[in-house]
């Protein structure tokens, strides 16, 4: 069964190091997502595994076998790109069975697998339609059926849902994962969409500047981010900068430049060290009554944005800091623009990080 082992992989384009000494093991049957901003090296990594690019150094093993010298067609992988290039003159059926026919399978076997795959993606009743007669979502499902028909055990998906309508994407996420799991395939899925990564993956690897900066389950990535960047990329976070000035019962204390202090989560950093503390906007608490306890800060609601399930708030704290909070819309009606409120940070949720090398602002830069 297919397991992918990548050792010390490096890819250089001219001056640019696209993939930098990367190690990764993908387990058999795993649904792995590669998440990261534009230019992180996500697609390059996928193309290296597929054999569409040749690495500068390092090795890739699939199913115990070194594939470094193998062409794409001998690697047991299927690559599905974001622009699903169906043959325009072929109908859905012909596109689907292209692989099996090219391999010279007998026609009975081709008929069975073609039908099975088209039924699985709910397209069998449209099998005679040409690509231009299908909607974007249907074309994508057709391309997926074709990829599945290739009989490869490893599916490499490069932003497979990007070209689709936002609403359709939500439905297809679930279908895609179910298909892969039902067929017992191993999938590596590249995306820049953190919500897609959270909902679809067994495991996420976060890529930045060609390096894996964290790997873990969706829960681990969300609740225990390894850096401020990840804290802010998977979900959204408010940050405070300062110096560690002491310990509390279960955590630490951070003092900002202007003298405000925060009780924060436990950390291995020494008292006296510079640090950054961050809390997800979902866990930033808004309260109507003024309070004067630990981590309570008075402020004014500057902006309120309804998003449906959630409502986002921008709050200007009286101390000059601007923070964001995300509430379920069912309770958001309690707060309006202009309201004086209290903002509370749960110390347990205020995660602590060393100050990033290039400073917090550069660390959080997305573009």
């Amino acid at each position: 069964m297919p397991e992918i082992i990548i050792r010390n992989l490096k890819k250089v384009f001219g001056d640019l190091v696209a993939i930098d000494s990367l190690d990764l093991t993908v387990k058999d049957g795993e649904y792995l997502t590669i998440l990261g901003p534009t230019g992180a090296g996500k697609t390059t990594l996928l193309r290296l595994i597929a054999g569409l690019e040749k690495q500068t150094s390092g090795s890739i093993h699939i199913d115990g076998k070194c594939v470094d010298e193998l062409p794409p067609e001998d690697r047991m992988v299927t690559f599905l790109s974001q622009t699903y290039s169906l043959f325009p003159h072929m109908n859905a059926w012909q596109n689907t069975i292209f692989g099996p026919i090219a391999r010279g399978w007998d026609s009975e076997k081709v008929d069975i697998i073609g039908r099975e795959m088209l039924e699985m993606v709910h397209l069998y009743d449209r099998k005679d339609a040409l690509p231009h007669e299908l909607s974007g979502g249907m074309q994508q499902r057709n391309a997926l059926a074709r990829a599945l028909c290739a009989d490869a055990r490893i599916l490499l998906l490069d932003e497979p849902l990007r070209a689709l309508d936002a609403r359709l994407r939500l439905d297809l996420r679930h279908e895609l994962k179910k298909l892969v799991k039902d067929m017992g395939m191993t999938a590596i899925h590249v995306t820049h969409d953190q919500e897609e990564a959270l909902t679809i993956s067994d495991r996420i690897i976060m890529l930045r500047d060609g390096k894996i900066i964290q790997s873990g389950t969706p829960q681990e990535m969300f609740n225990k981010p390894a850096s401020p960047f990840i804290h802010h990329f998977i979900g959204e976070a408010n940050f405070m900068e300062g110096t560690l000035t002491g310990k509390t019962g279960t955590g630490s204390r951070l003092t900002g430049e202007s003298g405000r202090t925060y009780d924060i989560a436990a950390t291995n950093l020494e008292v006296g060290a510079k640090a950054v503390a961050g809390i997800k906007t979902e866990f930033t608490i808004m309260e109507k009554e003024a309070k004067d306890g630990v981590n309570d800060f008075p402020g004014t609601v500057e902006r309120k944005l309804f998003l449906g399930r959630f409502t986002d708030f921008e709050i200007a704290l009286d101390n000059g800091h601007v923070v964001h909070a995300r509430l379920p819309s069912s309770i958001a009606h309690k707060f309006d623009e202009g309201d004086k409120i209290n903002v509370h940070f749960d110390p347990e949720r205020l995660l602590v990080f060393p100050v990033p090398e290039k400073g917090l602002k550069a660390e959080l830069e997305m573009m």
Partner: protein
């Protein structure tokens, strides 16, 4: 200041009806989003409004003036495209300053407007850069600044964020709304992204197959959608089919003759598959006994308990998905319907796959619709 009216607009391409008798009134200073799936006619609508296409039938009015037949460049509007077409050989400043130069504005005025617009999108610091030196998000910001520099009070945004990364999109949509409001512009924004529509707009025009399905504020479309397609498109939803079988007063006989509201009961009971029953609150006067209905509940409005509860249906958990601050469960009900339920992460109880549970349908959180003749699947279809 621009006020817009579309009166009975239709547009045909051969056999295809891209826009079908559209009537729409947009107030000055309003931010309106035209939302819908691919092929619904949303882009057709703004192309007609901006004069890129002429309607087959009907007329557009800008500021009370009929603009049918008037070319785009005389309609005084700023247009922002999905694919940011900056002039590649010009700097950020020259791109933004293009309209003032072409329109031969007074030099000082042109400089001032350009500076202000670039400052608004926080790109003045990059004014000497060429497009190839900018990220996708930055290019789009320059595109916005250039449109603002045209001095027009009417801004058309055609999928302005679709080509960008998810994260960059989040940040830019706030910026765009702020800019439009600060400048007092009227904006018409086309998108297929329901969340983008909700976060930017005063009102949303939801389209499907060339027609307007519903026009309302984001809150009303999410919380009180008037029809099933809206409920499914704006946010996710669970749908359960059934029929009205009992009136809350118990005086069933009275109800058989007329609308439910006439018997004075504020609740009634729907029978759903496999003889299960759900209590509905205030289903409205349009239903009679025996009417087929579709019951809608958002995932966050359902809840799960291991204990038996009122108005609950038994089921088995078939999937659980971590969503950050909440968990989403998929539950196969005893009725054979599959529903999605969202439970805040703060709730102590975590349920496991295959666990038997009760899904609670709080009557007040349920919306009820007549069962569509063409079938539920057809009515909800996104394609």
């Amino acid at each position: 200041m621009p006020e817009i009216e579309l009166r009975n607009i239709s547009k045909r391409f051969g056999k295809v009806v891209a826009a079908d008798q559209i009537n729409l009134h947009i107030k000055e200073g309003e931010y309106v989003t035209v939302l819908g799936p691919s092929g619904c006619g949303k882009t057709t609508l703004v192309k007609i409004l901006s004069g890129i296409w002429e309607p087959t039938k009907g007329d557009c009015f800008i500021d009370g003036k009929k603009v049918t037949g008037i070319p785009t460049y005389e309609r005084d509007l700023g247009y922002i495209f999905q694919n940011i077409a900056l002039f590649p050989h010009m700097t950020v400043w020259q791109n933004a300053n293009y309209a003032p130069i072409v329109k031969d504005w007074d030099h000082e005025k042109g400089e001032k407007v350009t500076r202000e617009s670039l400052e608004l999108v926080n790109m003045l610091r990059r004014k000497g850069f060429k497009p190839f030196e900018l990220s996708g998000g930055e290019k789009q910001k320059v595109g916005i600044a250039r449109a603002l520099c045209s001095g027009s009070k009417l801004l058309i945004l055609d999928e302005p964020l679709s080509a960008l990364d998810a994260r960059v999109r989040l940040e830019l949509r706030y910026e765009i709304k702020r800019l439009v409001k600060e400048r007092g512009l009227t904006a018409i924004h086309v998108t297929h992204d329901q969340e983008e529509a909700m976060s930017t707009s005063d009102r949303i025009v939801l389209m499907r197959k060339g027609r307007i399905v519903e026009v309302d504020t984001p809150q009303n479309l999410y919380n009180k959608p008037k029809n099933l397609f809206t409920a499914n498109f704006i946010g996710e939803a669970n749908f359960i089919e059934g029929s009205i079988t009992e009136c809350g007063t118990g005086e069933v006989a009275e109800c058989r003759t007329g609308p439910l509201s006439e018997c004075g009961a504020d609740e009634c009971i729907a029978e759903i598959r496999h003889k299960h029953r759900l209590v509905l609150k205030n289903p409205g006067g349009i239903f009679k006994m025996g009417d087929g209905v579709v019951i809608m509940a958002r995932p966050e409005n359902l809840s799960i308990s291991v204990n038996e509860k009122e108005n609950a249906i038994k089921g088995r958990i078939i999937d659980k998905i971590f969503m950050g601050s909440y968990m989403r469960y998929r539950v196969k009900l005893a009725t054979q319907d599959t529903v999605q339920v969202e439970v805040p992460e703060a709730d102590d109880k975590i349920f496991n796959i295959d666990e038997s549970v009760n899904v609670i349908f709080r009557p007040k959180k349920l919306l009820v619709y007549p069962r569509p003749r063409q079938g539920l699947k057809e009515v909800l279809s996104l394609e």
